[in-house]
């Protein structure tokens, strides 16, 4: 396995970089805009909230791979444009992540126990101090495990980009396998790579969930 990895190191590295770039864009855009959208959906339930519910329902019903295909082929034909598949994949994965993050943030804000804010008010804490010292720490504890899980899913979804010719790690692995025909070594290396990245994130999410669930309950 190591021999194959070393022999095709340039190919693997470039594929890995594309995967990481795709993941980075989807994570960054999703976390920033998803948080804002989630908050807006709570603040303006009739407009932004409704939009989030409809979009989340639609994207939950359509597999990511179908969305990618649709955005890459029919949409571009309909619009009469040709877009780099990397950009198409980045846009689709970002939108999916925005909706996932917005859903998590919106649910956490909705379920936030208002009594804790009331307690802060009667203790004379200002709105800003309440936000910084009461609301945000509790919200972060509530949403962090779910956010980590959703980001792992997004990382795994980057593999679908290979279906629209993005030269990410899976597509590169397939091409190397077509030349070297060492499927066991190549796909084991790929699995290990994802294991190294995803497993710690999943473990951290599970640990945080256990710890924060315990700390937030008042029996």
């Amino acid at each position: 396995m190591w021999k194959i990895l070393f022999e095709y190191r340039e190919g693997f590295t470039s594929g890995l970089m594309v995967t990481l770039a795709l993941t980075g864009i989807a994570w960054g855009v999703g976390l920033v805009f998803g948080t804002v959208f989630g908050w807006l959906a709570h603040r303006y339930a009739r407009s932004a909230g409704l939009a989030l519910r409809v979009l989340a329902f639609l994207t939950a019903s359509i597999p990511v791979i179908v969305l990618l295909f649709w955005a890459h082929f029919p949409l571009q034909v309909l619009l009469g444009v040709v877009i780099n598949p990397f950009l198409t994949a980045a846009a689709v994965l970002s939108i999916v992540n925005i909706l996932a993050v917005a859903g998590i943030v919106n649910a956490a804000v909705k379920q936030f126990p208002q009594e804790l804010i009331t307690a802060a008010r009667v203790c004379g804490l200002s709105e800003w101090v309440t936000l910084r010292r009461v609301t945000m720490p509790i919200l972060l504890r509530q949403i962090t495990p779910s956010l980590l899980n959703s980001q792992v899913v997004i990382l795994q979804c980057t593999l679908f980009a290979s279906m629209i010719s993005v030269e990410e790690i899976l597509r590169v692995s397939q091409r190397i396998n077509a030349t070297a025909y060492k499927p066991v070594e190549i796909y084991t290396a790929l699995a290990l790579l994802f294991l190294v990245v995803c497993l710690p994130l999943n473990i951290i999410a599970a640990l945080l969930k256990r710890r924060f669930d315990r700390n937030l309950s008042e029996r």
Partner: protein, 247 residues
Amino acid sequence: MLYAETISKSYGERNVLSEVSLSVEAGSACVVIGPSGSGKSTLLRCIGLLEPADMGAMTLDGKKYSLIADRKRMDPPWPDLTVVFQQHFLWPQLTLSENISRPLERRMSKPEIRRTMGELIELFDMADFIRRYPNEASVGQRQRVALARAFALRPRYILLDEVTSSLDVEQIEKLFRHLVVLLSSGIGMVIVTHLLGFAKAIIAAAPKSSIVFLDGGRITESGGRELLESPPPGRMSEFIARMQLAS
């Protein structure tokens, strides 16, 4: 002086409070008793400016507050007026100690916070559990912390909603002694309770104190200590008899 006048509040068609008025002088208590669902907690939330009323106003040491106005447009009197809830509402991400000290950070120096904390920890016997998180403490321990958090703020008026419900007899006695100290130092209180003995003791400790009987969102009886000793025949008399039975 705290004077709440003609507070009315309804949820849809259901009237929860109908033109309720009460007053509390500094250094005295107004004890509110009444059956479950009579509007006692809603009354405290309206007076505490935590829930808008449909009608009503409050005057606190000469400053008038509309109880129907948008809270954001007024300068609320917290924590000069503070509330202790039956359900505690401790911040779960902080230890019990931090729950008490956090609101003091911008009000007191560190040595003063330490001294206040020390006094309250001793008063409520909290040394054994003060470093725990709320979910690691018993209901009674959390209740003591909620009380300590309010007392540490040194309010001028304090609203207590069924705060004895999860305390044992020893803690109730300690709480009573501390309330007497606070009353004698000029703090005014509105106390909702189901404990007849506790209500009588509070009234006896602060001569200017009063008692009101809330039933169906209306104050049907009000008066001093004699009202508890010999309530007029009717709904209040029946209720007092049940309180005695429960005691």
